[in-house]
């Protein structure tokens, strides 16, 4: 009878577990390709500035000449596009597999790197 087409679907779904998750007691498992929160391993960063150039919103700022060198990411401007991750030459900026939890104050992340050790001065070869 065309009136109760829904009944089969409704009866089967009432006998199964609910499709909704009881968050926060049950958290969604992470999927590894997700473009999540951006994190930086500041020890390996060369401060080349490519990520700041590629960022479409200008969320990344850095100063290479200051001592200590700092890297500033405004999380509220970041659109999680992953352009910085794709462009990084030293693979120090990564995208995690989960999003940041909600916060109640605007803020950004600042990473600092102690100044790198001075380069050895080249000595002229003696004859």
């Amino acid at each position: 009878m065309p009136y109760f087409q829904m009944s089969k679907l409704a009866i089967f779904s009432s006998m199964k577990k609910p499709a909704t998750r009881l968050y926060p007691f049950e958290v969604r498992p992470d999927i590894d390709k997700t473009r999540g929160r951006i994190e930086l391993q500041v020890e390996t960063c060369t401060f080349c500035g490519l990520c700041a150039k590629k960022c479409p919103t200008g969320a990344i700022e850095m100063d290479r000449k200051a001592s200590p060198r700092w890297f500033h990411l405004d999380r509220f401007k970041c659109i999680l596009c992953g352009a910085c991750v794709d462009g990084c030459a030293s693979k120090s900026i990564t995208s995690e597999a989960h999003w940041a939890p909600p916060v109640d104050k605007r803020g950004s992340m600042i990473w600092t790197q102690a100044a790198p050790p001075p380069k050895p001065t080249p000595t002229t070869p003696t004859a």
Partner: protein, 359 residues
């Protein structure tokens, strides 16, 4: 002649996904005329082309709309590639087709849910969106984002789906297809759906063509017009025909969208079988000079992305004409003469995506 009252519909209404305002001129529950007005979420995205380089505009193009986001980014990339005459590798074209069709399925499932909600059938609304969640998990596993895919770039795509992942995608799609055919069969057969949609909001074949209707609104009145036949992406290599119905009422439009869901599953299967190995992008050098209009088929209809470059990094003009903008005159035509209780059903049947309309 009875007394006429003017009732505002929107911009806030439980049935509308996005804000549009209609002034309904009523005479005792019958609508005489509907006067639309928009502009509640105008963000001026077209002007951003003056401030952002053309390679960064892909991110802006994607974020015009949340439901049809991938095809907007595909259209922008196609337009710039048309201006600069870039040849995109084959594998990238097939991947764009796969993601484009997944985007179409998720948009139609979302619409089916909203349509059920518009006549109060909330149980079916929740079930449609439950199936859509499964599809969005699959999309996130392949692209990284549920709603904003972030996969298209000028010259190709940003990430690949390898062989083993492709097998996983096919298996998962078989499951999702079974679940969606349960949902679409309810829409096509159930009497309560038919009572609310058959004979409501009729538009004839000539009226739909001359009023500039696009997409399922045009195809449900008997006109054969589907922009995928233009052959962009890999559509030139795939076998399919536009889905056409003749009745021109809300039920015909529902039928067109249900059949398009099944057609999209078939297209993804064809694309996965034929996808060749190879690179996924080419390097882009130079700046665009010239103009081109890319016309693609979104779930809602034909979208124009017009790009004009003048040799600098910034585009001179970027214009998006979305399908809902073109469907507003048919909406006004359909609303004249209907009953007040049918207004939500008719407004939803053109699939209004107002954030696209106002950019």
């Amino acid at each position: 002649m009875g007394k006429q009252t003017i009732v505002p519909f929107g911009p806030q209404h439980p049935v509308l996904p996005e804000p549009i305002h209609l002034d309904l001129v009523l005479e005792d529950e019958k609508v005489i005329q509907a006067i639309p007005s928009i502009g509640f979420i105008h963000r001026g995205l077209e002007r951003l082309a003056e401030k952002k380089e053309f390679t960064d505009m892909v991110y802006v193009g994607e974020r015009i709309c949340g439901i049809c986001s991938f095809i907007h980014s595909h259209a922008f990339c196609h337009a710039v590639e048309g201006v600069m005459k870039i040849e995109v590798p084959e594998r990238a074209q097939y991947l764009r087709v796969v993601w484009g069709e997944m985007s179409r399925i998720h948009s139609h499932l979302l619409w089916l849910g909203l349509m059920a909600d518009s006549f109060g059938f909330e149980n079916l609304f929740m079930h449609s969106w439950r199936v859509r969640e499964r599809l969005l998990d699959l999309v996130e596993a392949t692209t990284g984002g549920r709603v904003i895919f972030g996969s298209c770039k000028i010259g190709g795509v940003r990430r690949d789906i390898n062989e083993e992942a492709m097998g996983g995608v096919s298996k998962e799609l078989v499951e999702i297809e079974k679940m969606s055919s349960e949902i679409t069969s309810i829409f096509e057969k159930d009497s309560s759906v038919k009572k609310r949609t058959v004979g409501v909001g009729v538009i004839t074949k000539e009226d739909a063509y001359l009023l500039g209707a696009v997409g399922p609104v045009l195809r449900a009145s008997g006109n054969v017009s589907d922009m995928r036949m233009l052959g962009y992406g890999a559509y030139g290599q795939l076998q399919f025909q536009p889905v056409v119905e003749t009745a021109g009422d809300c039920y015909a439009r529902t039928q067109v969208r249900c059949r398009e869901v099944h057609q999209s599953f078939g297209l993804i299967r064809q694309a996965i079988e034929r996808i060749p190995a190879g690179p996924i992008d080419v390097k882009v050098t130079g700046t665009p000079t010239g103009e081109f209009s890319a016309r693609l088929e979104q779930p809602r209809g034909e979208v124009f992305h017009y790009v004009k470059g003048n040799g600098t990094k910034f585009l001179e003009r970027y214009r998006v004409r979305t399908p809902t903008f073109a469907n507003v005159p048919p909406l006004v035509h359909m609303l004249a003469g209907c009953q007040l209780a049918d207004v939500p059903v008719i407004v939803l049947t053109i699939d209004p995506c107002i954030s696209c309309t106002e950019r």
